[in-house]
Point group: C2
Chain length 281, copies 2
């Protein structure tokens, strides 16, 4: 059988991931990034941006559930949510499982992500046609700066913390997020791998601490992100995201109340992560 391989291009990962490719369904380019959609015998369809796997049909639920649900379950009735990045709709799909949601702003700078997701990943983009979703294709940092309303939750679902997503990880951006959030609001952003990028995880925590009274960190196991032990960084004005305040929405495949309670980094490890200069636990 013909050996056709995808060599993932992740310059920050010390293990290179190589995938079998059955079909190349799409190749294209937007003003921001290069697109590929391929099929793999195990993972099904895979979305690849600038050579880096963003998600696969088989395992996208881990990431999308875990970005959305801990923050949303830390409050009784989230109404307004801002998703920055996430043009594929996976996070929006999870947000809409919460019955109190009235409005979801989807702010992805690259509309082509949405087009490709609608075409090739219908189970991911399924929530995008919901009337509560307002698409604002623009830079998330500018959106927040100009936004005059309030939000209960802000979720950043960007590409890695390099390249054009860098503006979403500055202290200034975090301060804007705090300004926009309600007093009980929660901000969540991806924060790379504890195995491979511990100093970066610490740096994001430090920037969050400068902008928010409370910063925290939880993880999820994601097979297709190098390093796998994937981090989510949390900022709030006091809401303790570790404590779910209501029953888990349904249906989910990974998130549940017990996962919520166990996904946050124990204090013993958190303190080690925050030790200046430490490269691994």
């Amino acid at each position: 059988m013909a050996e056709i391989k995808l060599f993932e291009k992740d310059p920050y990962a010390p293990i290179r991931y190589v995938y079998e490719v059955d079909q190349v369904l799409y190749r294209g380019r937007s003003p921001y990034q290069e697109f590929a959609v391929v099929t793999n015998p195990f993972f099904g369809r895979m979305l690849i941006l600038d050579g880096v796997v963003q998600f696969t049909e088989r395992d996208e639920f881990y990431y999308h559930e875990m970005l959305a649900h801990p923050a949303l379950h830390a409050m009784q009735a989230p109404r307004t949510v801002i998703v920055i990045g996430g043009g594929d709709g996976g996070v929006v799909r999870e947000v809409l499982k919460h019955p109190t949601i009235e409005k979801v702003y989807l702010v992805d700078i690259d509309e082509e992500v949405t087009h490709v997701a609608r075409e090739y990943f219908p189970t991911v983009s399924s929530g995008l046609s919901d009337p509560r979703v307002v698409e604002r294709p623009m830079d998330g940092a500018i959106f927040l700066k100009e936004f005059e309303g309030k939000a209960d939750v802000i979720l950043v679902d960007s590409t890695d913390i390099v390249g054009f997503a860098k503006s979403l990880f500055t202290e200034d951006f975090f301060r804007q997020a705090r300004r926009v959030l309600e007093a009980h609001g929660v901000f969540v952003t991806l924060s790379e791998s504890l195995h491979f990028h511990l100093p970066l995880v610490r740096e994001v925590q430090n920037r969050l601490r400068a902008a928010f009274p409370v910063a925290d960190l939880y993880t999820a196991p994601i097979a297709t992100y190098p390093g796998n032990w994937w981090c989510f960084a949390v900022g709030s004005q006091g809401t303790d995201c570790r404590v779910p305040v209501r029953d888990a929405v349904t249906p989910t495949r990974y998130y549940c109340t017990d996962i919520h309670r166990s996904c946050f980094i124990p204090r013993f490890l958190y303190d080690r992560i925050m030790e200046e200069g430490r490269e691994s636990l």
Copy 2:
């Protein structure tokens, strides 16, 4: 710079892992397997058996701590421990951190693993010279069948559940383990990845359930085992391994009481794993 790569040979993983290689320190062969010791700029020294990464200097502590400590902390005073496989000494090193330990049987069929570890991985093999360690280089299944004493804990630290390690995953082997264990005893064995080998995880649980009144499952994040979300399967006659009964030993780098409490699979996910025919969560 010369690009020298290790392509890991794991026929059961849908992602191929590729590592940079600086130096090849050793290549050899025993009657059981082929050995390589290489260095990598991120992971340091790596032990590779039959083409599969067994551990690296940088991250071996996750696996060795998490194989040893949950079972040992589920009882007040473990005295006798049997380690099957684990000739490198990493698990023995962790076991010896418990002050009540009187005897550790190390039963690795392949003495060459110990020789290579003593030569190239002194921080892993460091416990092997302890007078409480009794080396018994033989098949672990035969050792258990012939063993006339009792043990508090049995830990299986083998290669993957294929090839010559298969005899360590039969129902008969699990029954022998139960026979050898004290009434409060705990048996732990590796159980592959929840991302990549869910049916195998279920099969090991089913075989454990046939041999032990209690079977359970916990995980640890390990970057160098494909699928990463690594499973450990537990059998006991009633001891609830989820509950640590004393303070965590020191020093550790990952294991702590909070990790012990959070590493077990929530019932919501456990029930999904056990659904016959299910391939992913």
